[in-house]
Symmetry: C2
Subunit: 367 residues, 2 copies
């Protein structure tokens, strides 16, 4: 698994310039509890620099480390047996992390748990200027349905989450467009609604009149078993069959959707962008809006026969390959396509880049 993750990082993750906390760094003492802590837990905390401070009671441990952003930071034991310490400043947004106690990698019991890095484990939220986009506000809220849909090709009942916009249950004659939205490698079908807050982003945009109400469908992209060294031989067929031939018909038959290409979008982050690209190229008859978040680009030649294509949206963090994204979109625009780029300022290959990307894309869809 570790090898896979490293290879993944080599392929998808670009930047990540980590500044180590030096012993003479002055730490600003304005720490507050992370917004994604377990109920009643004060730690972990975050300060205005984006440093993470955590603590754990481990009176008989030889050492405890905070393992975040690819760096392990030593915690220090106090007289009561509590280990405490902090990381260097982290980028704004959401990060997966863990503790290491005498060599054991374990979740920090202070936090809620998220599926990322191929495991259910700890997460932390570094406040950002624009976190308001996914705040729980006093606006009408959509619902997130957990569903099991039948899949003949895999002989399983498969899980998906379906966001229905505010009013869906009441306005029983209205039909809606649908965005199929994919997570990244080492994430799963829960990631977009939990750490991505796709539902809250939509609730807020709809309340502000900035997005058309639409349904979002999030399922497991069958990505986590992929050997990344073998990406070129990656076979999209099994997932394409599940998505296009099984899930879409289930959604169209169980939800009040607009059942045509013009009202169907697909987007994904990282590996999910790669899947979006492969599926839209293989099946140019299914979706009219394509979104790649930190997940590659299209060139004009690849999509020249896509007659019902209405929008190509490509994004990444400013700490990834922003020039690659901007150049690709310029080329598409010059070739006459409706293409948009978006660069998330100050973020890398992590979920805040993708929350912002969804926030941008949602305002362009189905208009």
């Amino acid at each position: 698994m570790n090898h896979k993750i490293k290879t993944l990082l080599a392929i998808f993750l670009i930047s990540g310039s980590y500044s180590f906390a030096q012993s003479d760094d002055k730490i600003i003492e304005d720490f507050e509890p992370s917004s994604v802590n377990q109920p009643g837990h004060e730690y972990p905390m975050v300060n205005s620099e984006g440093r993470v401070r955590t603590q754990i009671f481990a009176p008989d441990a030889n050492y405890v480390k905070l393992d975040i952003g690819g760096v392990k930071y030593d915690l220090v034991k106090n007289e009561e047996g509590m280990w405490i310490g902090e990381s260097a400043p982290q980028d704004v947004g959401f990060h997966y992390y863990q503790l290491n106690i005498d060599g054991a990698s374990v979740p920090d019991p202070g936090t809620l748990f998220y599926f990322g890095a191929c495991r259910w484990g700890s997460g932390i939220e570094i406040p950002s200027d624009d976190q308001d986009i996914f705040a729980v506000k006093n606006v009408p809220h959509g619902h997130v349905h957990e569903i099991l849909f039948p899949s003949e090709s895999t002989q399983t009942s498969r899980k998906a989450f379906v966001y229905t916009p505010p009013g869906y249950e009441k306005e029983t004659s209205k039909h809606y467009p649908v965005l199929y939205l994919q997570h990244g490698y080492c994430e799963n079908e829960t990631s977009w609604a939990r750490q991505g807050h796709a539902n809250l982003i939509m609730d807020n945009l709809i309340a502000e009149g900035k997005a058309k109400p639409f349904i979002i469908v999030m399922t497991y992209g069958m990505t986590n078993e992929i050997e990344f060294g073998g990406l070129r031989e990656f076979d999209i067929t099994p997932f394409q069959t599940v998505l296009v031939d099984e899930l879409i018909p289930y959604i169209d038959s169980n939800y009040r959707t607009l059942k045509n290409q013009e009202n169907r979008a697909m987007a994904g982050l990282s590996m999910g962008g790669f899947e979006t690209k492969l599926i839209t190229l293989n099946r140019p008859d299914v979706f009219s809006y394509y979104g790649l978040f930190s997940g590659g680009v299209y060139n004009p030649e690849e999509i020249k026969n896509h007659k019902n294509l209405k929008l190509v949206f490509i994004s990444c963090g400013s700490k990834e390959r922003p020039d690659g994204v901007k150049n690709a979109v310029s080329e598409l625009q010059e070739a006459g396509y409706n293409a948009e780029s978006y660069i998330s300022e100050g973020t890398a290959h992590e979920f805040h880049t993708w929350r912002r990307s969804l926030h941008q894309l949602a305002q362009l869809l189905f208009k």
Copy 2:
């Protein structure tokens, strides 16, 4: 917190006769991975005796313990730095547990995480003869909606989960009865659908024609802040307001419900049973079916003015106070009430008792 939990146990939990694994116990070597492990994880495992065996890599630890059922079992380190060991046999069904590494209580990173014991932490499933009641089968599946409903009394948007039976989205003219179903102390609104599998129990019963399709609503009972020493002074009013005056109107306005007392039930486990009793006594005009799972009893005098009461269902595990439940139900029956008791064989104050209780109650509701 520990004090609260101990007091809770003193009040609600009765039996629990734990047999310690002796060094000369012969352990049956037929361990298999627990069904609620993280993807790709072999450990923890369970054998046919119900013993739990787990392992964790902690090369520099001084000791590691498996903490389950109120007992801490020592694990033993092998040459590679892996700690491994097992518990005494556990009751069938679902148990919360944790690891202890050099004094630090942490989740076992091998398992999925559940909210119980007032924390998100590890869970394990000991196979039972009747686990088929919540198996994922090739039958039509209902959906579990995560919703946010507005609560004026608490000035918050509050979370709830809503199970809609198979076909709900399609049969848009049909209206359904509703069961309001409460978790226990130190659990939350996620517990009934995750470790309780309320949705799968219903899907299977409906497919077999054994239960009428109905909606289930599960929200947070505001219980976990209660000081259990102060149970007699426990004020149900805040939660009663949220449930009866805010959540029910939201559900009735957003879902296709049958909006009357005859088509409304309330049930709860442990502390949720206590809440069910208090709310149904305070508001005899709201529900027609009452269910207490390991959560107290009604006496005939208490409900003598409940004109629209159709059923009282009271249950517990055989390792709790089965005689108390049976006697209370006999008294109710003698007084002319439609009352049913159910005793879960071989289980104590844990979720398998409550899954089975729901399985029984669901077959009696709204008929």
